[in-house]
């Protein structure tokens, strides 16, 4: 095959329910040190359930093997480059995991007395301060559980502020290149999303906005650099325009990996922004979460931030619930604390210098990939790009090969695909974000794979269209799954 990957024997594994059999067990409990309570007696017979039909029964080794075998079917950052654009799949340092698993943190109960939770509160305070400095904002709430949750919180804040000024307004402008969570959040915040078209080079134009920012507009939701990886050159003037017209500038900070240490949103006019600790700040994605989506704001938003707020009182940290203007809670307790621990560890490991260096390396890696792939793939923009680079499949589409096919073929070459078909403004987009933690060795293997696939698209398009060929599961029929959704296992008639 090629230099990056070969095939190897891989264990099959049925579903848990299929290896289950009565009496197998992986659990033990200590003997009760109190008298047992009869469930029927203390709860009433009809409040007690029958057995949990179908629930698994396996031995301990079967449980471990089951998930170990499953794990071996996954690709992961630990195995190689994972150039999903917009996702910032960087290396997840293991010191972060180590400190997050310290018992005093892991077993802290959210309601344990503040006097016995000073360690947790100190961590949150340190993280709030660091994020404020990195973003150039005045205050931070750590409560949102992910990026989209941060967006929602940020929009709530905007609405609360505007309501306090007498008019929440009606619309939020969202560029056509934005991530789907942006318009979805707008709706959930009770606003109407309005599309802002990008110019040909992928940026927003002041002139367009001049036209669109009416009295109805509560805010513009910008991603900067945007999803093409392009820095919005007019951002300061856009912010001025909005502010002049009583509207606010929200920034989706998913792409902060292009800015940390280089430029601060607070300095270029952003009023509210969310961060994705699971992107820029290296916390692991875990196959889809958990994340953490802190929201950083300018001072005017402080009274509206979710309760509780972390405050310093009598020389120790305390939680302040007495915030009459607060939007209230967006989540029980204080947010994804364990993720915060990891992000703070990352910031501590880097320091200011290190964050800046990481940003520049991320931009360098993306620029290198862009430069090397431009002869083979159609760039989505002529503008300079930062931490990611986007191509379209225009040249390959001529041979009937689409971005989704190229992505699948990359798997055969030992890589996780890039982000497919996003942003929507690029037809057949290939969105590549290498991140700073990839070595030149790995980047070169990636570039070579991409070049070979470009050649295959011309010479043997069918090979690409039917990829992947080297996985234990060949191309999966997603349409069939959606047509008649089977989202849970059920015993097969005639089987145990």
């Amino acid at each position: 095959m090629n230099g990056k990957a070969r095939t190897h024997v891989s264990q099959n594994e049925p579903l848990l329910f299929e290896i289950s059999s009565p009496g197998k067990r992986a659990w033990q409990l200590p003997p009760l040190d109190v008298p047992p309570a009869d469930p029927a007696e203390v709860l009433g017979r009809d409040r007690v359930r029958a057995e949990i039909a179908g629930f698994p029964e396996v031995s301990e080794v079967e449980a471990l093997r089951h998930f170990t075998r499953l794990a071996s079917w996954n690709y992961a950052i630990d195995l190689g480059m994972y150039p999903l654009g917009s996702c910032t799949m960087k290396y997840n340092p293991r010191i972060n995991e180590a400190v997050a698993n310290l018992e005093g943190l892991l077993w802290a109960h959210p309601y344990q007395p503040e006097s016995l939770a000073q360690g947790c509160l100190e961590i949150m305070a340190a993280l709030e301060a660091a994020l404020a400095e990195i973003t150039g904002m005045d205050a931070v709430t750590l409560q949102p559980a992910a990026g989209a949750h941060g967006e929602l919180t940020g929009l709530f804040l905007i609405r609360a502020l505007l309501e306090s000024r007498g008019n929440p307004r009606r619309k939020v402008l969202v560029p056509d290149s934005a991530h789907g969570t942006n318009p979805a959040s707008v709706t959930m915040a009770g606003y109407v999303a309005e599309n802002v078209p990008s110019c040909e080079r992928g940026m927003m134009e002041l002139a367009t906005l001049e036209r669109m920012v009416t009295e109805d507009v509560a805010a513009l939701m910008v991603t900067n650099p945007n999803t093409l990886g392009v820095f919005e050159q007019e951002i300061t003037r856009i912010a001025e325009l909005l502010h002049e017209r009583g509207a606010l500038l929200y920034m989706d900070g998913a792409n902060m990996n292009a800015l940390a240490g280089i430029a601060r949103p607070g300095d270029f006019g952003v009023d509210v922004l969310h961060l994705n600790l699971h992107k820029t700040f290296s916390t692991p994605h875990g196959g889809g979460g958990p994340g953490s989506g802190p929201v950083a704001v300018k001072r005017i938003f402080e009274p509206f931030l979710p309760v509780p707020r972390l405050v310093r009182r009598d020389n120790r940290w305390a939680l302040d619930y007495d915030r009459p203007q607060s939007i209230g809670r967006v989540r029980a307790f204080y947010g994804n604390f364990g993720v915060m621990v990891r992000a703070l560890a990352y910031i501590m490991a880097h320091g200011g210098e290190g964050l800046r260096k990481a940003t520049l390396d991320a931009v360098l890696n993306a620029a290198y990939v862009r430069k090397r792939l431009e002869p083979y793939y159609e760039p989505a923009t002529t503008a300079p790009t930062l931490h990611e680079c986007v191509f379209s499949d225009a040249r390959q589409a001529r041979h009937g090969v689409r971005t989704g096919d190229i992505a699948k073929r990359l798997i055969d070459y030992g890589f996780h695909p890039y982000t497919v078909s996003f942003p929507l403004i690029v037809r057949g987009a290939l969105m590549i974000e290498p991140t700073e933690t990839e070595s030149k060795l790995e980047l070169d293997l990636f570039v070579e794979a991409m070049i070979r696939i470009a050649r295959e698209a011309e010479e043997d398009p069918e090979l690409v269209r039917t990829a992947p060929h080297h996985t234990r599961t060949s191309r999966v029929d997603e349409a069939a799954a959606a047509r008649r959704p089977v989202v849970r296992w059920r015993p097969q008639p005639g089987c145990p």
Binding site: F67, L79, H109, F333, L360, Y368, S474, A482, W489
Partner: protein, 424 residues
């Protein structure tokens, strides 16, 4: 690499940014630290927290033993460091585990479909209310006052911006159960959802069927919320609910000062297209072999954008995996035994104190305090015990009460200390 790009320095890479946006000074952060220092700093923080205390707090975050397999599996790089399984062919591990998770949640709750996870129980409850509004095309929410107070706050926030009115229904002052008459009175023609927690915030097991009847009579949906998932091992599943929204923290997810946890929403087949969040479905690969993939993406924000069922994107996959491993380890028999131990422990403790409510309870209950709850807790702290949650903060009328929780990890000698402190 710079050379390959024709550049002289890294700075050149950002030279095209508008000059006014560039930060002209180093970030004001302490210099980068070594692993050893970082680990030292966090250890010091961890030591500032309570440790080696026995603890009788519950109230939405429970101390259960975490089987060692949970971390062994969840710390494997292939689970820990992968993204959302968009690319099915190299994500069958995660996809299969989620499919199993969805199945087990259905088996536990008596529902027909479950999603791949929500941020936590509180946001699951709020999103369940929004979902009910979409299904019923109504706007009103009736939340039981016995629903976790912080969950209610979250619901209020979400509802406020969705312009959905929220009312709260009372509890019976004697039993601690839902006041069904009051509920009946509050459910109206515009009620989309009735939200009831069972076991409720006081630990009392609710009559889900009665609540369902009241909701259904007016065309509203019943959302049953749970915060103590271990109770599902023993209690009749909320099969009369239209939507179940819960928190799985009890399933080997560390208390971790409040998060990350994992919420979940389960419902009936007929509502599948209104469920928020990710779903994994079964399908085939081109060679006809069983395979799994994310499905019904047309509900989701990346396809439907402003018309999506929710904005949720990243969820709590790894934490849901912990819960999946937990369910696998305990299994059918183990979960029941575990729940029975919780029941026994809590009833042992309850028998030794003065209970505020008479309703049946699982592993939490409200105790009446002879002195201020804070004073009792102070006494207990000196003996290495974190007592119960004083309830005055959330329920002024229960000012002299505390919520106590006992689990399989509670030891008799510590329960005796609590009983003693509550006797004096």
């Amino acid at each position: 690499m710079l050379a390959a790009l024709g550049l002289n320095s890294l700075e050149d890479l950002v030279a095209h940014l508008p000059p006014e946006v560039l930060l002209r000074r180093p970030l004001d952060l302490p210099p980068g630290k070594s692993e050893y220092e970082i680990s030292g700093w966090f250890r010091a923080r961890a030591e500032e927290n309570a440790s080696a205390y026995a603890c009788f707090l519950g109230a939405g975050a429970y101390r259960h033993y975490r089987p060692v397999l949970v971390d062994v599996i969840a710390s494997r790089g292939e689970f820990l460091t992968s993204y959302t399984p968009y690319q099915a062919e190299i994500s069958q591990g995660t996809l299969t585990a989620i499919f199993e998770f969805q199945t087990m949640i259905c088996q536990l709750t008596g529902m027909e479909v479950a999603n791949a996870s929500m941020y936590d129980g509180s946001t699951a409850a709020a999103e369940a209310a929004l979902m009910a509004a979409r299904i019923t095309r109504r706007r009103g929410i009736v939340a039981a006052r016995t629903l976790h107070p912080e969950y209610r706050e979250v619901i209020r926030t979400y509802a406020r911006f969705a312009q959905m009115p929220v009312t709260e229904s009372a509890y019976e002052p004697a039993s601690g159960n839902l006041d069904l008459a009051d509920l009946e009175a509050r459910v109206g023609e515009d009620t989309a959802a009735v939200l009831v927690q069972s076991p409720n915030f006081f630990g009392v097991v609710e009559d889900v069927r009665a609540a369902a009847e009241i909701a259904h009579r007016r065309g509203a949906l019943l959302v049953v919320v749970f915060t103590e998932a271990v109770s599902l091992g023993l209690l009749a599943p909320p099969a009369d609910a239209d939507i179940v929204a819960g928190e799985l923290q009890s399933f080997a997810i560390p208390p971790s000062y409040g998060g990350p946890y994992a919420g979940v929403i389960a419902t009936r087949e007929q509502h599948i297209r209104q469920i928020p969040g990710r779903l994994v479905g079964e399908t085939r690969d081109t060679r006809g072999r069983r395979a799994y993939c994310l499905t019904l993406a047309t509900r989701e924000q990346h396809i439907r954008r402003e018309k999506a069922t929710s904005n949720i994107c990243t969820n709590q996959a790894l934490v849901a995996l912990m819960a999946t491993v937990f369910m696998t380890v305990y299994g059918k028999e183990g979960l029941r035994h575990l729940a029975e131990q919780n029941l026994a422990k809590a009833h042992y403790l309850a028998r030794r104190v003065s209970r505020r409510f008479s309703g049946p309870f699982f592993n939490e209950f409200v105790a009446v305090c002879p002195r201020a709850p804070e004073a009792i807790n102070q006494t207990l702290l000196e003996k290495g015990v974190i007592g119960g949650l004083p309830l005055g903060r959330f329920y002024p009328e229960l000012d002299g009460c505390m919520l106590l929780c006992a689990t399989e990890m509670s030891r008799r000698e510590h329960m005796d200390l609590v009983a003693e402190a509550l006797a004096s």
